[in-house]
Amino acid sequence: MIEITEAEISLDEMIRRARSKDAGAMVTFLGTVRDDGMEGLEVEAFREAAQAELEAIREEAMSRFHLMAAEVVHRTGSLAVGESIVAIVCSAAHREEAFSGCRYIIEELKKRAPLWKKEMGEKGERWVGRT
């Protein structure tokens, strides 16, 4: 399942959905708001395009790495330091595939999904990635 949401991420539920008796390995990635001297993040999405892109990435990962399940949730809106921005859960028969699938999804998400972060700090605001 792919979800782009304002709500807090429940990794627990994602793991429950990704569990299967044919899976021997599950790898999860959590991207969290790191304290770079800022107070928090604003995350913005081109929601429809991001949903479609993440669904395409998910399909690619599923077939390339023979995943049993792949779940992606990306938050939007205001996030505090320590909160999760994105969660990815991949299950597979073996750990090699689960690690590779999870890595693939986060790398492609960062390259291809229309999502943006703005750092909010005492000294002002800054869109991440803009030169």
Binding site: A45, A49, I85, V86, I106, L115, K117, R130
Partner: protein
């Protein structure tokens, strides 16, 4: 329909309908936006009038190449999205 995200949303607003002349190109639409909004002109174009590297574009949710596809003509109902480099996750 023009959609703008992140820094460009702050300059242009999230979305707006624009009337297009018959046969107008992506480039002409961007120049029209620049003419009406000096902050957008400054953010999106360099001194020589070239689109800046970090301006990304989608037409109908498909990325287009600013080097090749600016001369693409837009149809009634097309959706052009303007945004800076991606930074999710």
């Amino acid at each position: 329909m023009v959609l703008a995200f992140a820094g460009f949303r702050e300059i242009l607003g999230k979305e707006r309908e624009l009337r297009l002349l018959e046969g107008a190109t992506v480039k002409e639409l961007l120049e029209e936006l620049a003419l009406a909004n000096p902050r957008f002109k400054e953010a999106a174009f360099d001194e020589s009038g070239e689109l800046r590297d970090y301006v990304l574009l989608m037409v109908n949710r498909k990325r287009i190449d600013p080097l090749q596809d600016l001369s693409r003509t837009l149809q009634e109902g097309d959706e052009l999205a303007i945004f800076p480099p991606l930074a999710g996750g």
